[in-house]
Symmetry: C2
Subunit: 369 residues, 2 copies
């Protein structure tokens, strides 16, 4: 297997609930999830199609969360979706009590599902199931879902674009770990991989959703017209990069290892996402906008919190690529450097945003498939 | 929470794939699973009802395994069931290729689902999902399953009967860890708990299965007319018991702890199981018989293998009840004692058997519900 794929297998978030776990370090995503909840509830009220439900022998309403990680944010989101659908049913005079819900939690097979399953509330309004596997492929039978959801997960790509680790390619990304600050060819390689992955995701969901089924996606992105290099994310990633380069200079890691290390993630933009969805053609866009001020659960996101945030995200990849122990050194260096860096986290600089897209599965007879 | 319930929460099999894991020590169950496979396939051919499947927009065929543990036997069983249903579909002129299968793997929430999910074959004919929770309750939406399966799991009870740990009761089971060799009241308490649990199991499955849906159960039991005390299982359990009593005498564990420790499991009999199923009333009995000569994967089940077998089964409970470390001592003592015990594993003595029951969900309009 290619090194690039090994990396992607390690991109699941840190499991468990220790200090570096995703569970303890996902308050930024939590903010987005909670801000989105209200919007999604409103869209369910106006757009969720109850015609699918036969009144004589009602089948369950099936909901899936794609890329749920080890849980807490996912449980909040799912709870909100179930409540909104119940409210919709009641508003239509349907006895919501006789309707059963089944919720499927998806993530990569390497995800800590034990943690997720043990944290399910024992009093809940739905039957729960965990579904392992990549959301870039089909994971459910056809027309078996009524609502699909995914939050802060679609920026992860299915693989690194081959070119960025190919010495012979103009998109070879040596000495960098991301496309920020890299030649245009690198950005293009990332962007076209993202488009392919998004298309696979949409086609797979189109197989699984009933016609008229809704899908809400929360996707990290850069705002239209903002150069990635101008963002605080750029500063953070370039700081990480420079720590790795320093570590290569004194031989803690090898230069070759740094050259072949690239983050398999991509920040799309509102415009780009729209094009990808329209090109795919299976869904109508009911909403596509930037989430306003996701509530941040840490009032002043401080340096320590941001360091932990990055660590929860990429420690798995660092371990897999450079071996165990490197992450400690890397993140120690990172927090020292970041503390000295005056530009760091300046509130005036643009940063990544969260897009919310609400899509509707086109009718099978009218849609392209 | 009562001590008795804490115990039941710990009854999941040892996870992982280490030397004491269930995965490495379940060849006896494996034998039963494989012997049953042929019978189940034949019953699917003659009794599986394909009327449920609409030919225009075929819904998936849903199968659930209740009490799957960490996996390997379950994967074999499920593979056999899917193949048999496909063959049945083909025999009816249905294009089996367009039919999708969804398989749900159920066990207690404390089960090692990570192990199960990572061992799923990547090339498989079905979508997979893990469903945590006790099979004594409803775990799926109504009429959402076509086939239910459970192997070597229904002998585990939902709780210890209260009486056996109640000093004031004639069924108080002090100085013993099971009903074998105990006063009749203890046996009765166990037997009535088993009947209640089996009834809950059947009612829950009746909710979940389509009418005409099949269910295959492999249940450990003693043959009709055999006194439990005469079996090799009795010898093994009484040996375990005597080791614990010895350990209490020299203070490694406390006497009170031994008095309150009881295995929450029960060996039913063909007659008793039949009565429980008929009393429940949701299913017709299509088959109920003793599995002939389950193939044993270890040709001569030796002492070491049997010790490991018991350890994989009850180590979790021993840890929970007596604390960590006690299991090592207990099983060392056990293998020393067992080696000296002449009666041990005599091939002439009766032993527990495996029953196979194939049940059919009665029609909703005709059945009691
Ligand atoms: C940052 S977490 C987001 C978790 C949660 N949805 C939230 O909003 O907090 C991203 C998750 O997506 C998962 N993920 C990434 N690529 C995936 C893929 N191809 N298929 C399924 N899950 C994937 C990762 O394993 C990780 O758990
Ligand atoms: C001996 S293992 C059998 C595993 C597998 N079916 C086989 O045949 O090898 C019994 C399994 O049943 C599970 N189990 C016991 N009580 C249960 C309950 N109430 N609900 C779900 N699973 C249960 C245990 O956790 C354990 O994994």
């Amino acid at each position: 297997m290619q090194k690039s794929n090994v990396l992607v297998e390690a991109l699941n978030m840190n499991g468990g609930d220790g200090p570096y776990s995703y569970a303890e370090n996902s308050s930024y995503q939590r903010g987005a999830v909670e801000t989105a909840e209200e919007i999604i509830s409103r869209d369910i009220a106006s757009k969720f199609d109850t015609k699918q439900l036969s009144s004589i022998s009602p089948s369950p309403i099936c909901i899936a969360d794609f890329g749920c990680a080890s849980g807490s944010n996912s449980l909040i989101a799912v709870h909100g979706i179930v409540e909104a659908i119940e409210a919709k049913l009641r508003s239509q005079g349907i006895d919501s009590k006789i309707i059963e819900f089944q919720v499927f939690f998806n993530d990569l097979v390497t995800n800590d599902f034990n943690m997720l399953l043990t944290s399910l509330p024992s009093e809940r309004r739905y039957y729960a199931a965990a579904v392992p596997g990549s959301f870039h492929g089909i994971l459910f039978p056809r027309t078996s879902l009524h609502f699909a959801y995914s939050s802060c997960a679609l920026h992860w790509m299915s693989k690194l674009p081959d070119e960025v680790t190919d010495e012979g390619s103009p998109a070879w990304n040596n000495g960098r770990i991301f496309y920020i600050g890299a030649p245009n060819e690198v950005l293009e390689a990332y962007s076209s991989q993202f488009a392919k992955d998004m298309d696979s995701f949409l086609s797979a969901r189109a197989h699984e959703l009933v016609s008229g089924g809704l899908m809400a996606l929360i996707v990290p992105a850069f705002p239209d017209g903002v150069l990635s290099l101008q963002t605080t994310n750029a500063t953070e990633i370039q700081l990480l990069e420079s720590c790795l380069v320093d570590m290569a200079k004194i031989g803690i890691v090898s230069e070759v290892e740094v050259d072949s290390f690239n983050l398999p993630a991509y920040y799309t933009s509102p415009k780009e996402l729209k094009i990808v969805i329209e090109k795919n053609g299976d869904f109508t866009i009911e909403r596509l906008e930037t989430l306003k001020n996701p509530k941040r659960h840490i009032a002043m996101p401080n340096l320590r919190a941001r360091t932990m945030f990055w660590r929860a995200l990429i420690e798995g990849m660092i371990d897999k690529h450079f071996g165990e122990g490197v992450a400690d050194e890397l993140f120690n260096r990172y927090s020292t450097k970041a503390a000295q860096c005056s530009l760091f986290m300046s509130p005036e600089r643009p940063s990544s945003v969260m897009l919310i897209a609400v899509l509707k599965r086109k009718d099978y007879l009218l849609g392209k498939k």
